[in-house]
């Protein structure tokens, strides 16, 4: 079974530039998550999709971050314009179904450096 695919693996940009990350979840997984992991911290949920609808985006900085999941499969996360504090690893995860014992499967992440 193929895992969660993310690209690119690394990205270096200057502040105020734009950047986009792509995620392809495990086939059949209805729920998709984007997490931000700053160095030395645990992953923090940015946005959660159920199929192509948003379930939770309460911690997404909507003035600069946007995400979409077209057709309920692939997803893109965009930052425009980037700030220095956006430097982090952006992790995509997917799960088969929501529920108490839901298990998330993570991709390898995109490491973003904002200079």
């Amino acid at each position: 079974e193929a895992g969660v695919a993310q690209s690119p693996r690394y990205k270096i940009i200057e502040k105020r530039q734009s950047v986009a990350f792509w995620c392809n979840p495990i086939s059949g997984h209805a729920t998709l998550y984007w997490y931000q992991q700053i160095l030395g911290q645990g992953p923090k949920l940015l946005i959660q999709f159920q199929n192509n609808g948003v379930v939770d985006d309460s911690q997404l900085p909507k003035d600069r971050f946007s995400a979409e999941r077209l057709k309920g499969v692939d997803s893109t996360l965009k930052i425009q314009p980037a700030k220095l504090e956006d430097s982090a690893v952006y992790l995509c995860a997917s799960s088969l179904a929501r529920g108490l014992s839901e298990k998330l499967f993570f991709g390898s992440g995109t490491q973003l450096s904002v200079l």
Partner: protein, 109 residues
């Protein structure tokens, strides 16, 4: 407001001995707890979980203990192996999943 805390940033143990990783939480509404393991340049992978109605769950060398009165969770690895060297995250669920900061475990041969 850190709802899930792993107060030990790192832990070093000898191969064959027990590793104990600890996690404290503040939200009594958490009803499910998980441990994830993360190797460098990889995403976290699920390790073991426990429901709030239980106090222990075991899977091979890994055992998770839950003390609800103390709001404390621990992961025991015995015997520890060099391949267990990784960052371990505890996570708690009340709707969404909240992660701790992680503990880096080093198992020395």
């Amino acid at each position: 407001d850190q709802q899930v805390k792993q107060n030990s940033p790192s832990l070093s143990v000898q191969e064959g001995r027990i590793s104990i990783l600890n996690c404290d939480y503040t939200n009594s509404m958490f009803d499910y707890f998980l441990w994830y393991k993360k190797y460098p340049a990889e995403g976290p992978t699920f390790l073991i979980s426990i429901s709030s109605i239980k106090d222990k769950n075991e899977d091979g060398r890994f055992t998770v203990f839950l003390n609800k009165s103390a709001k404390h969770l621990s992961l025991h690895i015995v015997p520890s192996q060099p391949g267990d060297s990784a960052v371990y995250f505890c996570a708690a669920k009340a709707g969404k999943l909240i992660f701790g900061q992680g503990t880096t475990l080093q198992v020395k041969p």
